[in-house]
Symmetry: C2
DNA sequence: CCAGTATATGGCTATATGGCCATATAGTCA
DNA sequence: TGACTATATGGCCATATAGCCATATACTGG
């Protein structure tokens, strides 16, 4: 149980460690979307969004299927949404709570 | 529930998105440790380890208390350990499983 | 105080990242 | 086929990151 593949783990976490990509994930957590929708939502260059999606695909966090002229992306690993709750609770703790137990479903 | 602080979330995730820091977290998840123990475990320069700990401290993931000559670090946010399980399940899926539901405690 | 040990900080270099623009690719529809 | 739209890729630049070495700081024990 100790032989984690830290390199792979870090790859996944690096893919998540970006504000724009977090927004993409949050969006895809609600409903699949095409690149153009994500591009409009983020207000970034389309090529930039495409690269973000490549990063997420490489980490096996999202996948896209073509439908007609569009490619619809969806979240493959919904568990990453819990990362956001945990991440949020980390600073929630800092800015108010006392000791921060629970809040995110970690095995203490 | 939509006004996430993505910047703060990304800060936390960036702090986790590094192989050496993941090893530190896994270690501290088992038991607190001083810098010198972590330095030996990682086989990196002591200054490098100290900087990693600063990153983790800044993200409120760990904190250290001095005891005599040593500073003992402990994990403040044990929920981050569940990140590792989720991250692992993301590639476990790739390398075998079919659809990857559950495995990590996300709210699907 | 001084010497010794543990930790932190500053300076440096090599590499990675995120953004843009320009362009290439892949599909649709006449 | 050719015009059009959606997405991906390559090139570039500015900034961030991880590592090292050297040095500073903080504490302990004589």
């Amino acid at each position: 149980m100790d032989n984690r593949d830290y390199e792979r783990d870090a790859l996944v976490l690096r893919a998540l460690a970006n504000e724009s990509r977090l927004k993409i994930i949050e969006r895809l957590g609600r409903e699949q979307a095409c690149v153009c929708e994500l591009t409009e939502m983020l207000g970034l260059d389309q090529s930039t969004v495409s690269k973000h999606l490549t990063v997420l695909k490489t980490a096996d966090i999202v996948s896209g299927v073509r439908r007609g002229n569009h490619i619809y992306y969806r979240l493959l690993a919904p568990c990453v949404l819990s990362f956001l709750n945990c991440a949020a609770s980390v600073h929630a703790k800092k800015d108010g709570d006392r000791e921060h137990q629970g809040e995110c479903n970690g095995q203490t």
